[in-house]
């Protein structure tokens, strides 16, 4: 049977997500130049990761699930990196 996550963990993840949303909005209004977008993406990635790990139970799931989740993300990155590598080297 699948693992039951304690309610406290869900609430902690929830609070973290709301907090990081505030952080990302706040950070956007400071001028870090080209770094801004990367900061936003790092924060978003962190938020997505805790949703995947806890809300989607991947932390407690078999390795096969991890493989599928990682493969999907990895392939999306291949698409973006190789496409951008064309535009960035013209």
């Amino acid at each position: 049977m699948s693992h039951v996550v304690p309610q406290k963990i869900y609430l902690l993840v929830f609070a973290t997500l709301l907090l990081m949303t505030l952080v990302t909005v706040d950070v956007a209004f400071y001028n870090f130049g080209w770094l801004n977008i990367y900061l936003a993406l790092v924060i978003a990635t962190f938020k997505a990761t805790i949703v995947v790990m806890y809300f989607m139970h991947v932390k407690f799931s078999p390795r096969l699930t991890w493989l599928f989740a990682i493969a999907g993300i990895f392939w999306m990155i291949i698409l973006m990196v190789l496409m951008l590598s064309d535009y960035m080297t013209r």
Binding site: M1, S2, V4, V5, Q7, Y10, L11, F14, L17, L18, T21, L22, T24, V25, A28, F29, Y30, N31, F32, N36, I37, A40, L41, I43, A44, K47, A48, V51, V52, Y54, F55, M56, L64, T65, F68, A69, A71, G72, I73, W75, M76, L79, M80, M83, L84, Y87, M88
Partner: protein, 214 residues
């Protein structure tokens, strides 16, 4: 046919195999969704790389407060969905439906806010097409931004509608007493779907609303 304990379909050896298959199947489908949205995120990345100033100018036309509120609304709906799954897993059967209803309600709140945002964009002539107007030097590329904005948020909204449908179906089944700690796979995999939809928005929000704000 009421299923108090899940009937194992004839081609499966046991309930555990059936549950693992269903979960893996949803993950396989979510991989396709990652690539589907990945394609349009890729298009966004290319266009943003090519036209950073236009994207900043266009992004500033969006309302950060509404966008952030919507982000919070969806995060709440993810929590309520997770709690609906947990209720089924822990035999708190009477809680399943309320949590699902709350999830749908929060999703509808998201839609209401989105509706006001879209209406505002139409009135400002920011919907791409013949009536698009954008002052300043970046007109054509700003239209590119808004094309991506409407396509990406539109696809996201479509996925939310599908999510509503799935949750309504779950509510019908939950009221018939189908779900328990012995069998809750449909709730679990619908949860996976809904969390994915939330994750898409977690990325959409900064990429659309928070460009060039400093």
């Amino acid at each position: 046919m009421s299923k108090v304990h899940s009937a194992v379909a004839h081609h499966f050896e046991d309930a555990e195999q059936q549950r693992e298959a269903a979960t893996l199947g949803m993950w396989a489908f979510l991989v396709t969704e990652v690539m589907f949205f990945g394609g349009v995120f890729g298009a966004y990345a290319v266009c943003h790389f090519l036209y950073p100033d236009a994207f900043a100018a266009a992004s500033n036309k969006l309302n950060v407060v509404l966008g952030a509120t919507n982000t919070a609304v969806l995060i709440c709906s993810s929590l309520s969905m997770a709690l609906a799954v947990r209720a089924a897993q822990t035999d708190k059967v009477k809680q399943i439906v309320p949590w699902l209803i709350l999830t749908i309600v929060l999703g509808l709140v998201f839609f209401v806010i989105k509706y006001f945002e879209y209406m505002h964009k139409f009135h400002e002539h920011l919907f791409p097409g013949a009536s698009f107007v954008f002052e300043g030097p970046h007109g054509a590329q700003a239209q590119l931004f808004f094309t991506l904005y409407f396509v990406m948020t539109g696809l996201h909204a479509t996925h939310m509608v599908i999510g509503f449908g799935l949750m309504l179906w779950l509510i019908v089944r939950a009221r018939k007493g189908h779900f328990s700690s012995a069998y809750n796979t449909p709730v679990e995999i619908t949860g996976l779907y809904w969390h994915f939809v939330d994750i898409v928005w977690i990325f959409l929000f900064p990429l659309l609303y928070l460009i060039g704000r400093a």
